[in-house]
């Protein structure tokens, strides 16, 4: 590659599915623009790679955009913005076909058309899949396709530490080249954050090690609110200890969830009657929040099993037979064989709910624009919101295409028309260098271990802000996270090297996690109702009078975040009951 540039027209932070889709969109919208793609890992390491089950888009004759919208909105417990959902379902098929044209190896019907599979919470089969490595294939297709655009310059393995905000506009970022330790300002006319989720605020998560909410924290600290952060999705089927995800496709193909008595316990939780074959929007194909909550209830009744890494239930796919398992969910078998030392053709898979996805994120509109001019966001780090209080399975991969593309187009337009000069960039850069030196790079002393603070954060988040929450549990966590932020100021960094300093990166990531954790807790504390993934034992009912609104958490340097509300946009579907299995 050519020498590292210190400016570009559009700078994209994060090179997973959303970031790469955005980069391609910028290049196709305006081929003259210089595009920078900056990521703390090589693009193909991004966490999109781990997504398994599939991506939803209406393509079959028996399906409709209305159905996709309704499944999304009811799945989200009426917290989705319905104008955004309507746009999303409308643009989804075109985006998916475009990815097909770029080479994504979608699984096919005999006649050569794209195949779809059922998924949780869906009235029709509409999930496109590439066996059960859908995210992997989507990411590699996007990455390989992005290589043909000469205007894309990648900053591989660079870590962004702050946004450059001058004169009320985002004008780039300051980043560390991890390989050399060099700190550099990269100016840009528009910036798109596509850094994904923040599952690592919790101890037991499907999320990769890199999912530390960096982009959320960047925007948050620059004054952009984080929206709906109280809504954290637990996926009902993770492997104990590792948290490795066993895709919903395993249930969509016909897998059963069984308690310690071999009983399909979901029938006790208003999710329908057990049938031998999978029934859409019923039982094991109910929504993720309800299934995860049923696990906790079952645990309270003493009907789960006990293992070395906590309680679990069984996912049984044995009756599907070797052929279905090997063709439809081969990765499930590979993961079980390699990481649990069991063969799902012959044995039941131990599973428990596991933190999977942040419905909340950086507040954006339907163009991916944040309230800060020049700053855009897309993918899991953003909140439009099409995911509401509980994301519908297989909408996230589609979301990163639809909104990655939209953010790219909007940023390209913004960059082409942006004018005015930045005066304070050098000063801002110097301030950031000073901050990094003082807090991290040249810091002497310190006694707190990164791992200990992280572990304490995990513990308090699980105990206080997990599947079920109360005012007192959340207050306890709030206090603890505040203490941890103080302890973090005394963190010890043994590694002072410039070359590939992973301890420094871990410290920077931990500071992001703590800010995100605080936003989750504060938003959860303020929402005195139960809706979707946010379940308050002290407020067990949904309260549309008070809370049919998105929470917006604003960063406060020395205090708890301030929480404000924005009404949910309702177009065609007034709030109703979520009905599954009846």
């Amino acid at each position: 590659m050519s020498p590292t540039p210190n400016s570009c027209d559009v700078l994209i932070i994060g090179a997973g599915g959303a970031g790469l889709r955005a980069a391609i969109a910028v290049a196709e919208t305006n081929p003259n623009l210089k595009i920078g793609v900056i990521s703390k890992v090589y693009p193909m390491r991004s966490h999109t790679v781990s997504a398994e089950g599939g991506a939803a888009a209406v393509i079959k004759d028996n399906d409709s955009l209305e159905h996709h919208a309704y499944d999304t909105i009811s799945g989200g417990d009426w917290m989705c913005d319905q104008d955004a959902v309507e746009l999303f379902v409308r643009e989804a098929p075109k985006e998916m076909i475009r990815l097909e044209h770029w080479g994504c190896p979608w699984s096919r019907e005999e006649d050569g058309k794209v195949a779809v599979r059922p998924f949780g919470g869906m009235k029709n089969q509409r999930t496109w899949f590439a066996a059960d490595k859908t995210g992997f294939h989507m990411l590699h297709t996007l990455f390989q396709t992005s290589l043909k655009y000469e205007k894309v310059f990648r900053f591989d393995e660079w870590f962004v530490t702050s946004l450059l905000v001058d004169d009320g506009r985002c004008r780039g970022a300051v980043a560390i080249d991890i390989a050399t330790g060099q700190v550099q300002a990269i100016q840009a006319k528009a910036v798109i954050i596509c850094t994904g989720g923040a599952g690592k605020v919790f101890p037991f998560t499907t999320n990769a090690n890199i999912k530390t909410g960096d982009g959320m924290a960047l925007a948050y600290r620059a004054g952009v609110p984080l929206k709906d952060m109280e809504f954290v999705q637990y996926h009902p089927t993770g492997l104990p200890f590792t948290g490795i995800l066993i895709t919903e496709a395993a249930r969509a193909e016909g897998g059963y969830l069984l308690n310690k008595d071999g009983y399909r316990y979901l029938q006790d939780y208003d999710l329908g009657k057990p049938e031998p074959r999978p029934v859409l929007r019923s039982m094991e194909l109910g929504p993720r929040d309800r299934l995860s909550q049923a696990f906790v209830k079952e645990q309270e009744k003493g009907r789960t099993l006990q293992g070395n890494y906590g309680d679990f239930v069984h996912l049984d796919v044995r009756h599907l037979g070797a052929k279905v398992i090997n063709t439809k969910i081969p990765f499930v078998r590979e993961l079980c064989l390699k990481y649990e030392n069991l063969d799902p053709i012959k044995e039941m898979i131990p599973v428990r709910p596991v933190v999977h996805y942040m419905m909340g994120g950086i507040h954006t509109d339907i163009h991916g624009a944040t309230p800060l001019p020049g700053l855009f966001a897309a993918g899991e780090c953003a909140c439009v919101s099409i995911n509401g209080a509980n994301r519908l399975g297989s909408n996230s991969l589609t979301e990163l295409l639809v909104f990655g593309a939209r953010a790219g187009e909007a940023a390209a337009e913004f960059a082409a028309s942006a004018n005015g000069t930045a005066n304070k960039i050098n000063g801002l850069y110097q301030d950031e260098v000073n901050r990094l030196n003082k807090q991290f790079l040249k810091k002497e002393g310190g006694t707190e271990k990164i791992a200990n603070i992280r572990k304490a954060m995990h513990k308090t988040m699980e105990e206080g802000a997990g599947i079920y929450r109360t005012e007192s549990s959340l207050m306890q966590s709030q206090k603890e996270v505040q203490t941890l932020k103080e302890r973090f100021m005394n963190v010890k960094i043994a590694d002072h090297s410039h070359t590939f300093n992973t301890e420094l990166i871990a410290a920077l990531e931990l500071s992001c996690l703590l800010d995100v954790a605080e936003a989750v807790i504060q938003s959860a504390l303020h929402r005195k109702e139960s809706r979707g993934s946010h379940q308050r034992i002290d407020y067990p009912d949904r309260d549309d009078e008070q809370y049919l609104s998105h929470s917006l958490a604003y960063w406060n340097k020395n205090d708890f975040p301030e929480v404000k509300y924005n009404p949910v946009s309702i177009t065609k579907w007034p709030p109703g009951e979520r009905v599954y299995g009846r």
Binding site: R45, H47, I97, E110, D156, A208, N209, L335, S497
Partner: protein, 247 residues
């Protein structure tokens, strides 16, 4: 006290010492741990300066390849117990420059990947109203080559790459074939031209070490053989039919 196992880990930090060395760490021999868990234990509890890459811990992101007792493996997919009673020797992947400790410089691969044009090439893109048709058997033709996670184990195992760093290498060639064999693609010719100056490919003797170490059964060796057959045909044709357009 639980059983312990010793890890002898390659250490190199150009900021501090010009010469690499090995450092030993004793960690619990937990039967559920993979090698990567042991490295994380060291980093969290014993030595924060130990440097390595990792992310997904489920064998799909391709970050954590290392030499373990001289074999290239994904450390997230390799159980610690397998090596009991130890010691276990852990080194950065062979055939690459080392940046620090267990971290290699793989930028060479990124350049080579781009060189083989790993994207769909067509004279014109079809309408976004419908998909290109591809039957399950057409999908099966190239699918195995599409499973490459770019983990670099095949480069670490490749005797040719070790001697001839210009060789585009097993993974990049497998990915070139992945597109060549995709019925939606028309870029075979362009990719062949991009590879015409690659001497390494002809030196590949089908030893197959690359395929043997691949954690995803991609079989780059098979892809390379296929290339050589096609490439030879291409060369003969251009000799015999200099006026004709190769199709």
């Amino acid at each position: 006290m639980d059983k312990q196992i010793t890890l002898e880990i390659f250490r190199y930090n150009p900021d501090e010492a010009p010469e690499p060395g090995f450092q030993s760490y004793e960690v619990p021999l937990n039967k559920d741990w993979v090698i990567l868990d042991a490295l994380n234990y060291i980093k969290d509890q014993m030595d924060g300066t130990l440097s390595y890459r990792w992310s997904c811990r489920m064998g799909v992101c391709g970050s954590c390849g290392m030499m373990v007792n001289d074999k290239p493996v994904l450390t997230c997919a390799t159980f610690l117990e397998k090596f009991a009673p130890g010691p276990i020797r852990i080194e950065p992947l062979e055939n690459f420059p080392v940046v620090r400790d267990l971290i290699i410089d793989m930028s060479d691969f990124l350049t080579k990947l781009q060189k083989v044009k790993p994207w769909i090439i067509r004279e014109e893109e079809g309408s976004l109203e419908e998909e290109y048709l591809q039957t399950p058997s057409q999908l099966a033709d190239y699918k195995p080559y599409s499973m490459c996670i770019n983990c670099m184990l095949c480069y670490a195992a490749c005797p040719v790459y070790g001697l001839e760093p210009d060789f585009v290498g097993p993974a990049a060639l497998a990915l070139a074939q992945r597109y060549n064999m995709d019925n939606r693609d028309q870029g075979n010719q362009q990719r062949m031209e991009a590879l015409s100056d690659d001497h390494g490919m002809w030196q590949c003797t089908f030893v197959g070490d690359c395929s043997a170490v691949c954690p995803k059964n991609v079989d780059p060796a098979g892809a390379i053989q296929r290339y050589k057959v096609e490439g030879a045909g291409h060369w003969w044709k251009s000799l015999l039919l200099p006026w004709g357009k190769d199709k």
